[in-house]
């Protein structure tokens, strides 16, 4: 049981070196571009710009596969429902279910959307270490501070959450083994069976949160206002170029949609 979704893969590729803000915004606009695509072909083509980026980032096929694997069932179900339940010109019949041309189109489109979005999100988290991800997010949310959005606190919460995911998983595994030693069984999804795991896990999470809060206070943490940082984010020419390409992608996707409609 090793948690691989959203794992950071240290490296020094061009993608790794991009500013986290560029990557976050590009992820957003890439998503918009894919969702704007009016049919399966357009979705498949516009999303494919992710492949060269994955290669440049130096991510291995096995890694990509591990990111997609948990969503395989979900993707199959989405595809099947779209393919079968959309009325239209019949193409083939699987038992009582009839696959239509329109359904196939919609199904493929849904499949492409999920597939590309997962890939893009995996690319972002694999090439951006959690700390700079939080930094980037904070900077992007900064304008909202005037409206009362606690951007620094939100970013800190995100960093802490990301930081403690592996710790909690490790802990869960340890508690599971300890309870197994007492004859517990975690087979089946009965809530009652999970109590011996969930309760100790929550207690230790709260205890850890309290200790962390005290440690931060002891080091005079007083919230976000006026905090400086060791590494200041700075946009470089590569960031502008990358971002221009992203905007071009959204633009063409939008234009195509207008033309086709």
């Amino acid at each position: 049981m090793v948690f691989e979704l959203g794992q950071y893969m240290p490296g020094n590729s061009a993608i790794h070196r991009l500013d986290p803000r560029t990557k976050l915004l590009s992820l957003f606009f890439y998503g918009v571009a894919i969702l704007l695509a009016p049919n399966a072909t357009a979705a498949l083509i516009s999303g494919s710009v992710i492949f060269p980026l994955i290669i440049v980032a130096g991510l291995r096929l096995a890694f990509i596969w591990r990111q997609l694997r948990p969503l395989l069932i979900f993707m199959t179900i989405v595809f099947a429902f779209q393919a079968v339940l959309t009325p239209g010109e019949a193409l083939a019949a699987v038992g009582p279910a009839i696959i239509t041309r329109e359904g196939l189109n919609l199904g493929l489109m849904a499949l492409a959307r999920v597939f590309y979005l997962v890939l893009a999100a995996a690319l972002l988290t694999a090439t951006t270490d959690p700390l700079s991800l939080a930094d980037g997010l904070e900077k992007l949310l900064r304008p909202g501070t005037r409206l009362g959005l606690p951007s620094q606190e939100l970013a800190l919460m995100l960093t802490l959450a990301l930081r403690f995911v592996p710790t909690m998983l490790e802990e869960a595994e340890r508690i599971m083994r300890a309870q197994m030693a007492r004859g517990a069984s975690f087979k089946g999804l009965k809530v009652k069976n999970l109590m011996p795991l969930i309760i100790p896990l929550f207690i230790s999470a709260f205890r850890r949160a309290e200790a962390l809060a005290e440690a931060m206070e002891a080091r005079a943490y007083q919230g976000g206002k006026g905090r400086t940082r060791m590494r200041e984010l700075a946009l470089r020419p590569a960031d502008y170029i990358f971002f221009i390409f992203t905007i071009m992608l959204v633009g063409s996707s939008f234009a195509y949609r207008l033309l086709v409609k």
Partner: protein, 288 residues
Amino acid sequence: MEIILKDVSFAYQIAGQQLPVLHNIELKVAPGDLLAITGAGGSGKSTLGQLLAGLLEPTAGKVYLNGIPCQARGRSKGVSLWQRVGMVYQQPEQQLFAETVFDDVAFGPRNLGLSLPTIKDRVERALQAVGLNPAEIGQRSPFNLSGGQQRRVAIAGVLAMEPEVLILDEPTAGLDPAGRAQILSYIRSFFQQRDKAAVLISHNMAEVAGLANQVIVLYQGRIALKGTPREIFQQGESLRAYRLLPPELPRLMLELRRLGAPVSTDVLTLAEARSAILKWLRGEASGF
């Protein structure tokens, strides 16, 4: 109950990579053994304990229970021999979850499918074995107890399974001296029952010295030394090579000897040290 590890190796899988922890371990735990596993941090002590308890599956080699090769817990179906091996984890109080002390200690026996009167009987005996009064504490919430009491409840939860082999991972870590002494005395009284064996994992050599009848020293995932506490602790300064601090009394005796006092270095307890020193002071030559 006899546990044998034959040529067992273990590696953790982290992000698709192998992190080897133990290499070619040969080990046997039989009734009457009180085995201490010591070693510096990261030497693989806890992992070895979990292999002995059937909580991890070795990446190579085999584990035999009473001569029968066994897979780790949860892999084989039905009643397994592992039920007869109990494991007390590091900081076992973190595994408490039930509303009352009674329910928590009863968790194991309930999983064994015992009848209610038997469960009650076992819970009471287990709590008494760790010096807690079932009538007084049984209906309280385990989370309102002191740290030391919580640990004793957690240990009772394992004792209530009536294991034949009890494995304890750093059972005294984080307790005050009185709490330590208590826990160690429960381990001793468990071990003194018939046909029981215990495995004590500890980095504290002095703690191990007075209790165990067999010691192994792990170093970088291999068994570096194996013997009785006397044999091991007489190594003195060479224990430092395994990143262990030799226990204080043998160190004192070695130091005295280096300074010219002909005392025996074969000393484990305070009483032994005292008589050895008195013997020298009264001018009786020790046998060397």
